[in-house]
Amino acid sequence: MSVSPGNYEEELKRLSGLSIDEFWREADAGSVGLGKEELARILLAIGSKYNYGLAPDATAGRAQVAAFWRALQLPDLALAQACALGRDVAWQQFMARFREPLTQAAIGIAGSAARGQELADSLYSEMFGLTERDGTRRSPLASYSGRGSLKGFLRATLAQRNVDLYRRTHREVPLPELDFAAAPAAAIPTPEVLSRLGDSVTATLGSLSPEDRFLLSAWFLDQRTLLEISRILRVHESTVSRSVKRLAERLHKELLRHLEASGMSPAAAREALGTDPRDLDINLRSLLQASRPGTFFQQGASPQQP
């Protein structure tokens, strides 16, 4: 976007056919000290960053541009951006609206009142933009796009900070001393069978869709409940349950097919599936979570927090 300062309002009208006045009124931007030119600049930046909600290779028409901006949470957006710009009146509104919910959310996320209060306090100072970066004060609120609610954005930010803090301080956790069951008395498969089995598992898991992989990761690795997964995927719990069952059956069939395709007889393939997983030289977690380049769009992404 190469728009010279002072021309943001004209550019916004050219792209959407709408006047900035309409957005400015709907966002109630005047009450948080945000000018029309500033709001126009923000809307243009967000629209350009997310290609107006379209796929990266698509070109947005006037109606799509207008629809994208109209779908934003404009009052929340104006408030967050005005806070990021350091407007006092905006901060007063922000604190009045979000101080209590943010503290409560932090306590819920952290799991204790003391840690939650500490988490919320640290986020307040961060939101105020105390972090110096390239000589300018930056607030995480500046990255809020208005696509979701500001409350949801704050919850996600809190969750990120909590997870990063937890992982930073709990990177090395001793494994609990478990009394593993004795290995079955069955003969250990030959290295060749184990190799074929490992290849089949790798190929099968690699062929799954993102949603299936997410489902397996959340269900088997994270031990999430059906309710938690269903709320993320926005389906009913029973749908998640059926999906997990179908996915397990499909994985079984796919593994058999891969094994038979590698030259094993059906009986040998079924026998190989009964192999003790501890004999397999594969890491299911790393297979499920195998990082594939380009799976996440760079726009709107952020580097790993230290």
Partner: protein
């Protein structure tokens, strides 16, 4: 097996929150899912960032009388005994007075309805009753035994499981409903007594009866006894809305206007079908019209959900119904056919009503109110000022 920190780029809080709220476009949602499948850190973030599930609804506060008496049963019993003694004392010592002879109630049909009903149907009857001579010295137990003798065991209609909810118990009318609360006459207050039956004439026990003043917010609740009878005493004069609701039956709404020292007797016949009518009861009227042939009546055919309608209201040509699962349906032909109204609210619909301007109002289980002029398009009710 330990999981290393996932290197590289992650979705920012803005994208994750929009994903959690289901507001990302499809292509970004799939990209997010692909990343989440790989990244345990971001998975943990989205699960933590979710709003916690809505807590179960807090139990409704107990009525004032229950709050007073429930914690200290002994005090409650003592207070009841004191009340009993006071009642007997009043009966014995009151000076005989000539019985007042004034009219009690009048039934007025809704003005907008002129056509007779399509078929004979159980019409609500409000009987005129003369005030009981408050000073008639009679044995205390006599009034109590008379109604009890009239009560015959009737087969109870099937009550859905939800009606067995004991979390919000309402006071049952005691069997001796004919015992007159002396305050209702001594203080110039009124009372309402009635019987609730179904279409076959069988009593409807444990039906909810709610009396709400039109000009106030506090309401009084009571449930019918095993004979389907109820009685509300000590009611100040004024205009009221009386709602009678029983699981599996259509809620009946009436508007009453009571003056002091009146006893309104109401015979209500609930229907499994839909009855939407307003009955004006005006005290001290010169004439009594008990003919309800001009009442508006709507026969409801089976709702698309195959569940019974719990509430039905009509405004103009539009009829709305709520089934026992809390879904809303709309009919433009007086209930002959129904269409499901797409819910823009969360949760079940718990109450349905019409406002004076003909606007529909519904209340959801989380307490939010929604308004609609046509029954199809709903918007949140503005907050009360």
């Amino acid at each position: 097996m330990s999981e290393l920190l996932h290197p590289g780029w992650h979705p920012d809080a803005d994208s994750l929150s929009a994903f959690t709220e289901g507001l990302l476009p499809e292509h970004e949602r799939l990209q997010c899912l692909a990343h989440l499948a790989e990244c345990g850190r971001c998975r943990e973030v989205v699960f933590l960032a979710q709003e916690p599930p809505a807590a179960t609804a807090a139990p409704a506060p107990a009525p004032a009388w229950r709050r007073w008496f429930a914690p200290i049963p002994v005090l409650g019993a003592a207070a009841a005994a004191a009340l009993l003694v006071a009642a007997v004392s009043l009966y014995v010592h009151q000076t005989p007075a000539p019985p007042a002879r004034h009219e009690i109630a009048r039934v007025e049909p809704p003005p907008q309805v002129s056509a007779p009903p399509p078929a004979p149907s159980p019409a609500p009857v409000i009987e005129r009753a003369e005030p009981k001579p408050r000073s008639t010295p009679k044995p205390f137990t006599a009034p109590a035994t008379a109604p009890a003798a009239q009560r015959t065991p009737l087969p109870q209609p099937p009550i859905p499981a939800e009606s067995a909810d004991v979390s919000h118990p309402l006071p049952l009318v005691p069997p001796d409903v004919a015992i007159k609360d002396p305050r209702s006459t001594a203080d110039g207050l009124s009372e309402i007594a009635g019987t609730v039956t179904d279409a076959s004439g069988a009593a409807v026990p444990r039906a909810f009866v709610t009396l709400r003043p039109l000009s106030g917010a506090s309401s009084r609740d009571i449930r019918t006894d095993e004979a389907g009878q109820f009685k509300l005493a000590g009611i100040p004069a004024g205009r009221y809305e009386l709602a009678i609701n029983a699981p599996g039956f259509v809620r009946e709404l009436r508007q009453l206007e009571l003056k002091s020292q009146e006893v309104a007797t109401i015979a209500s016949q609930l229907s499994v079908g839909s009855v939407s009518e307003t009955v004006e009861v005006i005290a001290s009227a010169a004439s009594v019209q008990t003919d309800s042939s001009s009442m508006a009546r709507t026969r409801v055919r089976a709702l698309p959900s195959k569940l019974p309608a719990t509430t039905t209201v009509t405004s103009g040509k539009i009829t709305l119904a709520v089934d026992s699962a809390g879904s809303l349906f709309r009919s433009q032909n007086a209930g002959k056919s129904w269409k499901t109204v797409k819910a823009v609210w969360r949760g079940k619909v718990t109450d349905l009503d019409t406002l004076p301007a003909g606007t529909f109002q519904l209340t959801t289980e989380d307490g939010s109110d929604w308004l609609s002029a046509d029954g199809s398009h709903w918007s949140p009710a503005p907050p009360a000022r």
